[in-house]
Amino acid sequence: MTKTSPSEHATAAPVPEASAKATAARSGFRIGPEGWTTLALFGLTVFMILASRLISSGFGSWQQAQAILLLSSFTIVLGFGQGLVILIGGLDLSVGVVMTLGGILAYRWIGTSLVALFWAIPCILLVTGCVGAINGLGATLLRLPPFIMTLATSLIIYGVFLGFTGGQPRGVASPALTSAYTSTFAGLPVILWLLLIFIILATLVQSHSSFGRRLYAVGTSPMAAYIAGLPVRLLIVAAYAISGATSGLAGILLVGYATGATLTMGQSYLLPSVAAVVVGGASILGGRGTYLATVGGALLLTTLSTIIEALGLAEGWRTVIYGLVIMLALLALRENMGIGWALTPKFRNTASRSRPGGAGHKPNKTGGNG
């Protein structure tokens, strides 16, 4: 049927020199494009913190760096769940409200008791995880578009809050949670150590566990994953459930940081959670992205908003600059991944399109008989 030139057998494009050198020969590990994105994000964050000295002498200090780390802890935690959902090709717009749910429950259940900490936190994670699982079931069994499903869930939960709390959540901020932000261990706030543990565990789950590897497969091509025998629906529901639980965790942390709970406490973290993942180089179509890059994205965005805040500009300008910088960051960071990947097939098509007008074209002048 088809004739293919034998030269095609000469396999794929040669390994580029640079990446061959970057190959750590023994472990089978190398810094791929995703690794470079992560490094670039961390580098940019450090650079911005140092450069902010120019704006104000109080900036660029170690204290300020710590403050930024504390502030970004919520987005970093949210970003894990959001990142997994985006990895499987979905989107979780309920993270803000579920974060609020976690916060309100923590405010109410934990109180001043230290014992409550040990039963309440698992319970809160379970409840918020279930909310996430419901999102996942809606996206798989009911086949609702993920953003509609998660938006609907968040509206419903918000309505339930209003009904139950009468607009004003009651409770006490747990002193234990607050102390995670105020007390230090080995020179760093306790929360940063906890965050470090979280990041390590999350990276292991996303990039090095068989579960995470299956999520990548599902995100790359759900149909191929299905044919390869993976339980695609279960994996999708699991990703949403984790997103619910990490949102709940972020809510618990926020109660400790803000020493209080409001009905809108999580709202402002929804967009940063998506932005951190996307700035980190993940494809919104799924299948690509690493958690470390999301962490980098969260740090970069938090640094950025802190600095913009310090510029003393009007609120409108701050938002404009924030938006512009996110756009620029996306363009710059996607250079080697997103854009190249998205455009290549198109270019290939145009290149292979045959020239207009065949080579052997001759006007055919046979005398008509009409």
């Binding site: 396999t11 472990s27 091509s221 149909m223 299905y226 044919i227 074209h361």
Partner: protein
């Protein structure tokens, strides 16, 4: 260029030489390295119904696309009524007087019959807006004229039966009053082809030229005097249909290749255990399909496009569900609800789908990750995958499919199609399944990869595995399989094995003919 000839031309050869409506001279078309058309030459006269015959992949669809302006030819020349014809688009072709009824129907499913018949230029009402009543009136007129008054112009196309849709597709093509009508497998879904024959004969009498693409020789004999055969992108002909026997036509379609020696010693004397037994399998496009696949056996499936093979393979792979019928693995009945279940059922069934890029491999992942996906549990401890062990296992295994180790770390999208296919086959082998369901596994891959895939299949069945393989390339089936089933219109039309397994035999069965009958008629 579009002048209506009122004189009635006699296709069987009036003495006066006339300008053909369509003249095609040495037309070629390549997609990258793949040559779809090498050199096609043919002429269709006014009032003639010219047959175009060829097996799968001979280039028929590409030729239709060139004629109807969807793709542009690479070389050669086309002329219409003596004027150079180079359509830039479907609309351009239609303006020049060529309209096509496509095999893959081109109707808009969510619009009404009337809208489909009058697009792209719906009749306007008073305000310059499309007028529903005028369009419906026009549709009724067309439906009556072409003997399809049973179809309501208000029906939504997606609710029509396949046969009705095909009639609408044909009527729409004819309604443009073309100089040349291209009918691509027009009777594939028609219950009563006589309807079409009447219309075509009537229009031919008024001077329209028709290119009739079909694999049904009986229809071709009924309608056409002359024909052209496409084989591997080359045209053979013109041939006088009436003076050429079915067998000669099959031989021309298949060519010399059939002399190639078969490699597999067929008809193994030892009766082996049954791996998969299928009986009464019925789905949307298959009816009462039954066969058995033994351990150590390669069973081929041959069929023209769309004879139900896709559904059959997807059912066996657990992707689609049958309406009726049973599948048993090693004697016990199974219900394959998902590919995961198929892999886990009995000794395991693994499916290689036709769409490598969207259903087979994971494009954004590394080759290594693609290959080791089925092994993740075995490669991990406490849920964590050891990347060193993973790499070592992959590097060790890919030698079985002759894939270079350096490709493991690359993203699989950077690999050639052939290497991607090797990686996919490797993954399927690593799943541990003892039965492979391969749907056109060598499609679009290079010669070297094909050879590798053949070797892998040989080794797999030698080790007691079993393989069911569909291929669009008949020589491949003849070479690889011990037995070959032929599907025609969703049913098993026959089975060839041993010395009877030949390309001519497969072509005959696949086009709804019986090779034994033909042979006995010839010898008689």
């Amino acid at each position: 260029m579009q002048h209506q000839t009122d004189e009635i031309d006699d296709a069987s050869g009036g003495p006066a030489p006339q300008t053909p409506v369509l003249r095609v001279a040495g037309v070629s078309k390549a997609y990258g390295a793949t040559i779809a058309l090498n050199s096609v030459t043919l002429e269709v006269l006014s009032g003639e119904v010219h047959a175009l015959l060829g097996e799968n992949g001979a280039g028929k669809s590409t030729f239709v696309k060139v004629l109807s302006g969807i793709v542009r030819q690479g070389g050669g020349a086309l002329s219409l009524d003596g004027t150079p014809y180079e359509p830039r688009s479907l609309m351009d072709a239609r303006r020049s007087g060529v309209s096509t009824a496509f095999q893959e129907l081109s109707l808009l499913p969510n619009l009404t019959v009337a809208a489909n018949l009058t697009l792209p230029h719906p009749l306007k009402g008073g305000l310059g807006l499309a007028s529903r009543s005028r369009n419906e009136a026009r549709a009724v007129e067309l439906l009556h004229q072409f003997d399809a008054a049973d179809i309501s112009p208000r029906s939504i196309v997606s609710r029509l039966s396949l046969a009705q849709k095909q009639r609408i597709e044909i009527i729409r093509a004819i309604s443009h009053r073309p100089r040349l009508l291209v009918l691509d497998e027009p009777t594939a879904a028609l219950a009563e082809p006589e309807w079409l024959f009447r219309i075509v004969e009537q229009l031919a009498a008024s001077g329209m030229a028709t290119l009739y693409i079909s694999h049904r020789l009986s229809e071709v004999r009924r309608l056409c005097n002359k024909g052209t055969i496409l084989r591997n992108g080359d045209s053979i002909g013109p041939i006088a249909i009436a003076e050429t026997s079915d067998n000669e036509i099959f031989r021309m379609m298949v060519g010399k290749r059939s002399e190639e020696r078969r490699q597999v010693a067929s008809g193994s004397s030892v009766v082996r255990d049954v791996a998969i037994e299928v009986s009464g399998l019925t789905g949307e496009s298959i009816h009462d399909v039954g066969f058995s696949l033994h351990k150590g056996e390669v069973v081929g499936v041959a069929a023209l496009e769309g004879q139900g093979q896709r559904e059959l393979f997807r059912i066996l792979g657990g992707v689609a569900r049958p309406l009726r019928g049973t599948i048993s693995l090693e004697g016990s009945l199974v219900n394959l609800k998902s590919p995961g279940q198929a892999l886990a059922a009995g000794a395991g069934i693994a499916f290689v789908p036709e769409e490598r890029k969207s259903e087979g491999i994971f494009l954004t992942q590394s080759t290594c990750a693609n290959v080791t996906l089925p092994l993740l549990n075995r490669l991990s401890r406490f849920g964590l995958v050891s990347s060193r062990r993973e790499y070592a296992v992959a590097a060790d295994q890919i030698q079985r499919v002759q894939l270079a180790e350096r490709l493991l770390r690359l993203r699989i999208s950077a690999l050639s199609g052939g290497n991607q296919q090797k990686a996919l086959i490797m993954r399927v082998l690593l799943s541990g399944a003892r039965s492979l369901i391969l749907f056109d596994p060598t499609r679009g891959v290079d010669v070297g990869t094909k050879q590798t895939i053949y070797e892998v299949i040989h080794r797999f069945v030698q080790d007691g595995g079993s393989v069911l393989i569909y291929s669009t390339e008949l020589p491949e089936l003849v070479k690889l399989s011990h037995r070959c089933l032929v599907l025609y219109r969703g049913r098993v039309a026959g089975e060839l094995s041993g010395e009877n397994l030949s390309e001519e035999g497969l072509v005959a069965l696949a086009t709804g003919h019986n090779i034994e009958e033909i042979r006995s008629r010839e010898t008689a």
